[in-house]
């Protein structure tokens, strides 16, 4: 049983960065902007979070640094795509390449250094309940934060005026503009929110998931997060469900590997990527589902007419 508990706990830590990055990107895409730079922003967040935690000794300062780094990179993206109206796909790809390259450069001296770990919480009494205690009350702070952010996004997007404005901007920027809403400020805010979340997700990797810095340690998680937004058909709780499903697939792969069933480890490592493809196919093939929720102006440039 304790083995099962360990697996469940690892699944939660593996799912959290996916959820953080995906929920941020969901908000970005709901405002009509497609930021393919998630992977790059995660990498920058991971390296800056690791570095700041190492320098200060505090994982919480590391988290703040990771968020700031992701936000800074996304601000650059917002300036290029929203203000200068550059191609979002191309700029997003460039952002990923920039983030990965820059993170390797910044992190060169961090390779092999032991990191600062974000500890799991321990609430005396509650965390000691067998099985349920560690799962419900013994996680690190960011596991709860990710779920809280999901709840907040779900509430704000669908139950508040702010959410209505964001969705209006994403579904028809011309109408939103005609109604007097600031398309450009809304998109800036959403993109920076997404970047902050992606940076946080990267920081989670280098501070909680595996407290160390390895080049390319994001290993495609930013891209999986992008796929998760489609998988969750732009709905926050479905994205959260998807993130936990993916975390489960990743960790079960490892778990099977340790059992040594003679399955090549490379096949098990490729499972998350194969599952991503299958998930995309299943969801994208369902036209009714995607048509209802895909932001109509996703990826389209907005130039206000005078």
């Amino acid at each position: 049983m304790s083995e099962l508990l360990a697996i469940v706990l690892t699944i939660i830590t593996a799912s959290t960065p996916l959820l953080l990055a995906a929920i941020g990107e969901l908000v970005v895409e709901r405002s009509g902007v497609l930021n393919l730079g998630v992977e790059g922003m995660m990498a920058i967040g991971a390296v800056c979070g690791f570095g700041a935690a190492l320098a200060s000794g505090s994982p919480y300062l590391g988290i703040l640094a990771a968020m700031a780094a992701g936000a800074a990179l996304s601000l650059l993206f917002a300036f290029l795509t929203v203000t200068l109206v550059s191609n979002q796909v191309a700029t997003g790809l460039a952002l990923t390449l920039l983030g990965l390259g820059l993170s390797g450069l910044i992190g060169e001296s961090f390779v092999g250094q032991p990191g600062v770990k974000l500890e799991r919480l321990h609430i005396p009494g509650l965390s000691d309940i067998p099985y349920l205690g560690p799962i419900l009350f013994g996680q690190d702070l960011l596991v709860y934060a990710a779920l809280a952010i999901t709840a907040a996004v779900a509430y704000l997007l669908f139950r508040s005026k702010l959410g209505l404005v964001i969705r209006a901007v994403g579904d028809s920027h011309q109408s939103a503009h005609a109604l007097g809403y600031g398309v450009i400020p809304v998109r800036y805010a959403c993109v920076v929110f997404g970047g902050t979340c992606a940076g946080l997700a990267g920081g989670y990797l280098s501070l909680a998931y595996t407290p160390q810095w390895i080049e390319n340690m994001t290993a495609g998680r930013g891209w999986i997060a992008l796929a998760l937004v489609v998988f969750g058909s732009w709905l926050p709780w479905r994205v959260a469900l998807g993130a936990y499903l993916f975390g489960t697939v990743m960790i079960l792969g490892f778990a099977v590997q340790t059992k040594g069933l003679g399955i090549p480890p490379q096949f098990l490592s490729s499972l998350p990527y194969l599952v991503t493809i299958i998930a995309l196919v299943v969801i994208s093939g369902n036209r009714a589902l995607t048509r209802a929720n895909t932001p109509a102006c996703l990826g389209q440039p907005f130039v206000p007419d005078r």
Binding site: G220, F267, I277, L280, S284, G285
Partner: protein, 330 residues
């Protein structure tokens, strides 16, 4: 009198010419600040990075050493892949998995040395190159099919397949394809002389370099002078207009992915034949990803990718030079 400021309908001629120059200038300034932030003299660092690789040319040309060869050999896969991507991106087909198609091409092409080790014939090289291209095309056919049949984003599927192909390669060279006489190193048998592309004279310039130039020129011609090129550009700029003209969106997705995938596979097998010499877990320093930059830097013009490919090949060589003389990470 009322003055009206109207936006030009097109960019001015002057801007078209100077905007790449502005981009280069901005790159140099940004790079300079980055080196400054790393505590290096920015001028010295930029010199080492961009001019040192070229300086070899002047110093060693007299001694029968031709370092520009290195540049051309490094640029060849970038141009080969970048030219194909430039065409695909013009049609708004976002193949970003060229690295995976490169790997798949290298794997399929290596079937010849691995299984038909002793087959020596004029057809050997042709078979290897053809299998390489087919490998890349097959790998690119997956996102094309999924895009057309299910509407799955080719951006994400082609990228996911990069990881899958690299893991497949890793499994092959550690498992079934490992050289039994290779002291347990994760690598296949070394390719024999007749499984390597011919080189020009005494140089290291191989046939792949020529193929890259030909591919760039042929694609430039296709884009500028043929109906296919017009179709691709139309569907890229306005899918609606393309539909009215009777052009098939699904057809262009297939065409662009197979074309760019095939060229990436060709680059992969050529790289393995002449630079690496066998399959091993890592066969490319990310050429498939750098080629994305090459395609954009070449302004999505296949001929432009020739120049952009050379420019980025300089940065590969410059990165190596800087690692040696400045101790900077590439």
């Amino acid at each position: 009198m009322r003055l009206l400021l109207e936006k030009r309908s097109e960019h001015s001629q002057l801007m078209t010419v100077i905007s790449p120059l502005i981009a280069v200038a901005l790159t140099l300034v940004t790079g300079g600040f980055m080196f400054l932030a790393m505590g290096l003299n920015p001028f010295e660092a930029l010199y080492v990075y961009f001019l040192e690789p070229l300086k070899f040319f002047w110093t060693f040309a007299a001694e029968d050493f031709w370092p520009l060869e290195q540049l051309a050999v490094k640029a060849a896969p970038l141009v080969l892949i970048g030219a194909g991507l430039a065409v695909a991106y013009s049609a708004n087909v976002w193949n970003i998995g060229a690295e995976g198609q490169l790997t798949a091409g290298a794997i399929l092409g290596a079937v010849v040395p691995v299984y038909f080790t002793d087959w020596q014939s004029p057809l050997t090289l042709i078979a290897m190159l053809a299998l390489g291209a087919i490998g890349g095309m097959l790998w690119a056919a997956i996102p094309a099919f999924l895009k057309n049949r299910f509407g799955a984003s080719e951006i994400l599927t082609s990228l996911m397949l990069v990881y899958v192909s690299q893991l497949l390669l890793d499994w092959l060279v550690r498992g079934p394809w490992r050289d039994p006489a290779g002291h347990n190193f994760p690598q296949t048998v070394a390719f024999a002389d007749w499984q390597v592309l011919p080189v020009f004279g005494e140089s290291s310039l191989h046939l792949g370099v020529l193929l890259a130039v030909i591919a760039a020129a042929a694609l430039a011609f296709m884009m500028a002078r043929t109906l296919k090129g017009f179709e691709i550009k139309t569907l890229g700029v306005s899918p609606r207009a393309g539909r009215f003209a009777g052009f098939s969106r699904a057809g262009s997705v297939w065409f662009c992915l197979l074309l760019s995938g095939g060229l990436a596979g060709l680059a992969g097998i050529a790289e393995v034949m002449n630079t690496v010499g066998q399959l091993q877990p890592k066969i490319s320093p990310g050429y498939g990803f750098t080629a994305i930059i090459v395609a954009f830097l070449g302004r999505l013009n296949p001929l432009g990718t020739l120049i952009a490919g050379l420019a980025l090949a300089i940065s590969y060589l410059g990165g190596e030079a800087a690692q040696v003389s400045l101790g900077v990470s590439a």
